[in-house]
């Protein structure tokens, strides 16, 4: 992993989140995500896993407790982070190239830099052929690639992903998982990932956090000690299978009560 000293550490200290009428979504989360970790949150629906991302990104404030990203508040840390949403959330009136350049544009990057950076990223995610196409002309997988490229264009040191591959078919998802790890190896960010898929979590993460619903809290934590670089072959290894079984079991436990 390159330059992990540069990437942020995230600290949750007794974080509680409730919405409007007092419905408790997350209760008492204490957790430290170390620099350069790839942490996946997994859990049944209603366990508040998407809320975790919203809290880290500062899109919604914690009801009590604190979240610090390298000592900064989530809002102040926004400049260092990028968010990848479940649907690709591309602007339909912009070409792929213009979409990838959006973050840089909003942050007032010089046109020259924007152009260069955008081209590099289009190349990196394999979309240079369709750079001037509009989103509606792309497949689901290509849209997601564009979305990843857009997130990476601003040189994030923290990447927040909310079930980014949930809507894709399994083959596309596996390929994008591999690509995501390749990009991580090249760029090195701290990653927080939310997913429904145990296999995906095991494949990507250095640590898996299983959440329990009503109210959302940490049920179990699984370190994933499989070596990097990981490739699709990993799916066939015994260690991978064991871990998937363990996490799946824990997930069922989390649902019981």
């Amino acid at each position: 992993m390159s330059a992990t000293s540069n990437v942020p550490q995230i600290e949750f200290d007794a974080v509680v989140k409730s919405y409007g009428t007092g419905r408790l979504v997350l209760s008492g989360i204490d957790l430290t995500i170390e620099k350069g970790e790839f942490v996946s949150f997994i859990g049944p629906s209603g366990c508040g896993k998407s809320t975790v991302l919203k809290l880290i990104s500062g899109l919604t404030p914690a009801s009590s407790g604190t979240i610090r990203i390298d000592g900064m508040t989530p809002k102040d840390a926004r400049e260092t982070s990028s968010f990848i949403f479940q649907d690709a959330t591309l602007l339909p009136w912009r070409t792929v190239r213009e979409n990838v350049g959006l973050g840089l544009e909003l942050e007032h990057a010089a046109a020259e830099l924007r152009k260069k950076k955008t081209s590099v990223l289009l190349d990196l995610v394999g979309l240079d052929d369709v750079a001037d196409a509009y989103p509606r002309e792309l497949s689901g997988g290509m849209k997601m690639r564009a979305s990843i490229a857009r997130a990476l264009a601003t040189n994030p040191r923290l990447l927040l992903m909310d079930e980014p591959f949930a809507a894709l078919d399994e083959m596309t998802r596996d390929r994008l998982n591999e690509e995501l790890l390749r990009l991580r190896a090249e760029q090195g960010w701290t990653a927080v990932f939310v997913t429904h898929s145990v296999a995906e979590a095991v494949f990507l993460s250095t640590r898996i956090i299983v959440l329990k619903p009503n109210p959302g809290r940490i049920h179990a934590i699984f370190p994933v000690e499989l070596p990097f670089p990981r490739t699709a072959d990993l799916h066939e290894s015994r260690e991978f299978d064991n871990l998937v079984t363990q996490v799946s079991h824990s997930l069922r436990e989390a649902l019981k009560r």
Binding site: S81, T89, L102
Partner: protein, 263 residues
Amino acid sequence: MRKRFLAAANAVAVFGALLLIWQLILWIFHVQPFMLPSPWAVAKAVVARFPSLLTSLAITAEESLGGLIASIIVGVLIALVFAQSRWVRTMLYPYTILLQTVPILAIAPLILMWVGAGTAAVTFIAFIISLAPIIANTTQGLISVDENLVNLFLMHNASPAQMLLKLRLPHAVPSLFVGIRIASGIAVIGAITGELFAGSSRVGEGGLGYSILYASTQLQTDYLFALVLASVVLGFSFFFVVMFLEWHFLHRWHESALVPETE
């Protein structure tokens, strides 16, 4: 290509059939020409009075277009205010509905009193009548932006101006065009209705509505038909120009503007 040609041929055939029925009615029921002129008489009236027909058409076109453009500008500005908060919308939206439901025939005399007869009054009537669909549709477009797109912009610390210019306004363009399409039709109707009351400030010259009223009092039914025909042509032109603009701006990215492939 062949399909398109056939469709055009069918449309022409229907038109021919209608003319034939029209002529047959005249022959069978011996209708007086001042009640219903023959298609041929109407055609002659069009040719004989072409210059004044064109003048009327131009006047009405100018008034409708002026009213429509004003309603687009003012309507988008009002929609921008409406998009600011739900509170503003609930407070002001009833007045948009009022705007839509007030019968133009009822307020036209009032507008004449205030603005004075003539082109300005007619333009104003066209403006008033076409304003509501612009406001309603544009507001809808401005506020129906996907929450995650808003979050995306927030993550990049986008300013309110960026949020508006790079997200909300472009997102509202398809809805705006829906509004313009509706408004363009009623702007023409509004202008013609307005002219029935407002008449003309220029002696002997007036828009289509004014001339229709004049022709009817003179029992020039053939010319009256020619004027109605001109009104239809005007309405169609507006519609097609708006359709073309909509296609031009949206076809590359928006589904609604996709023209189904023939064949």
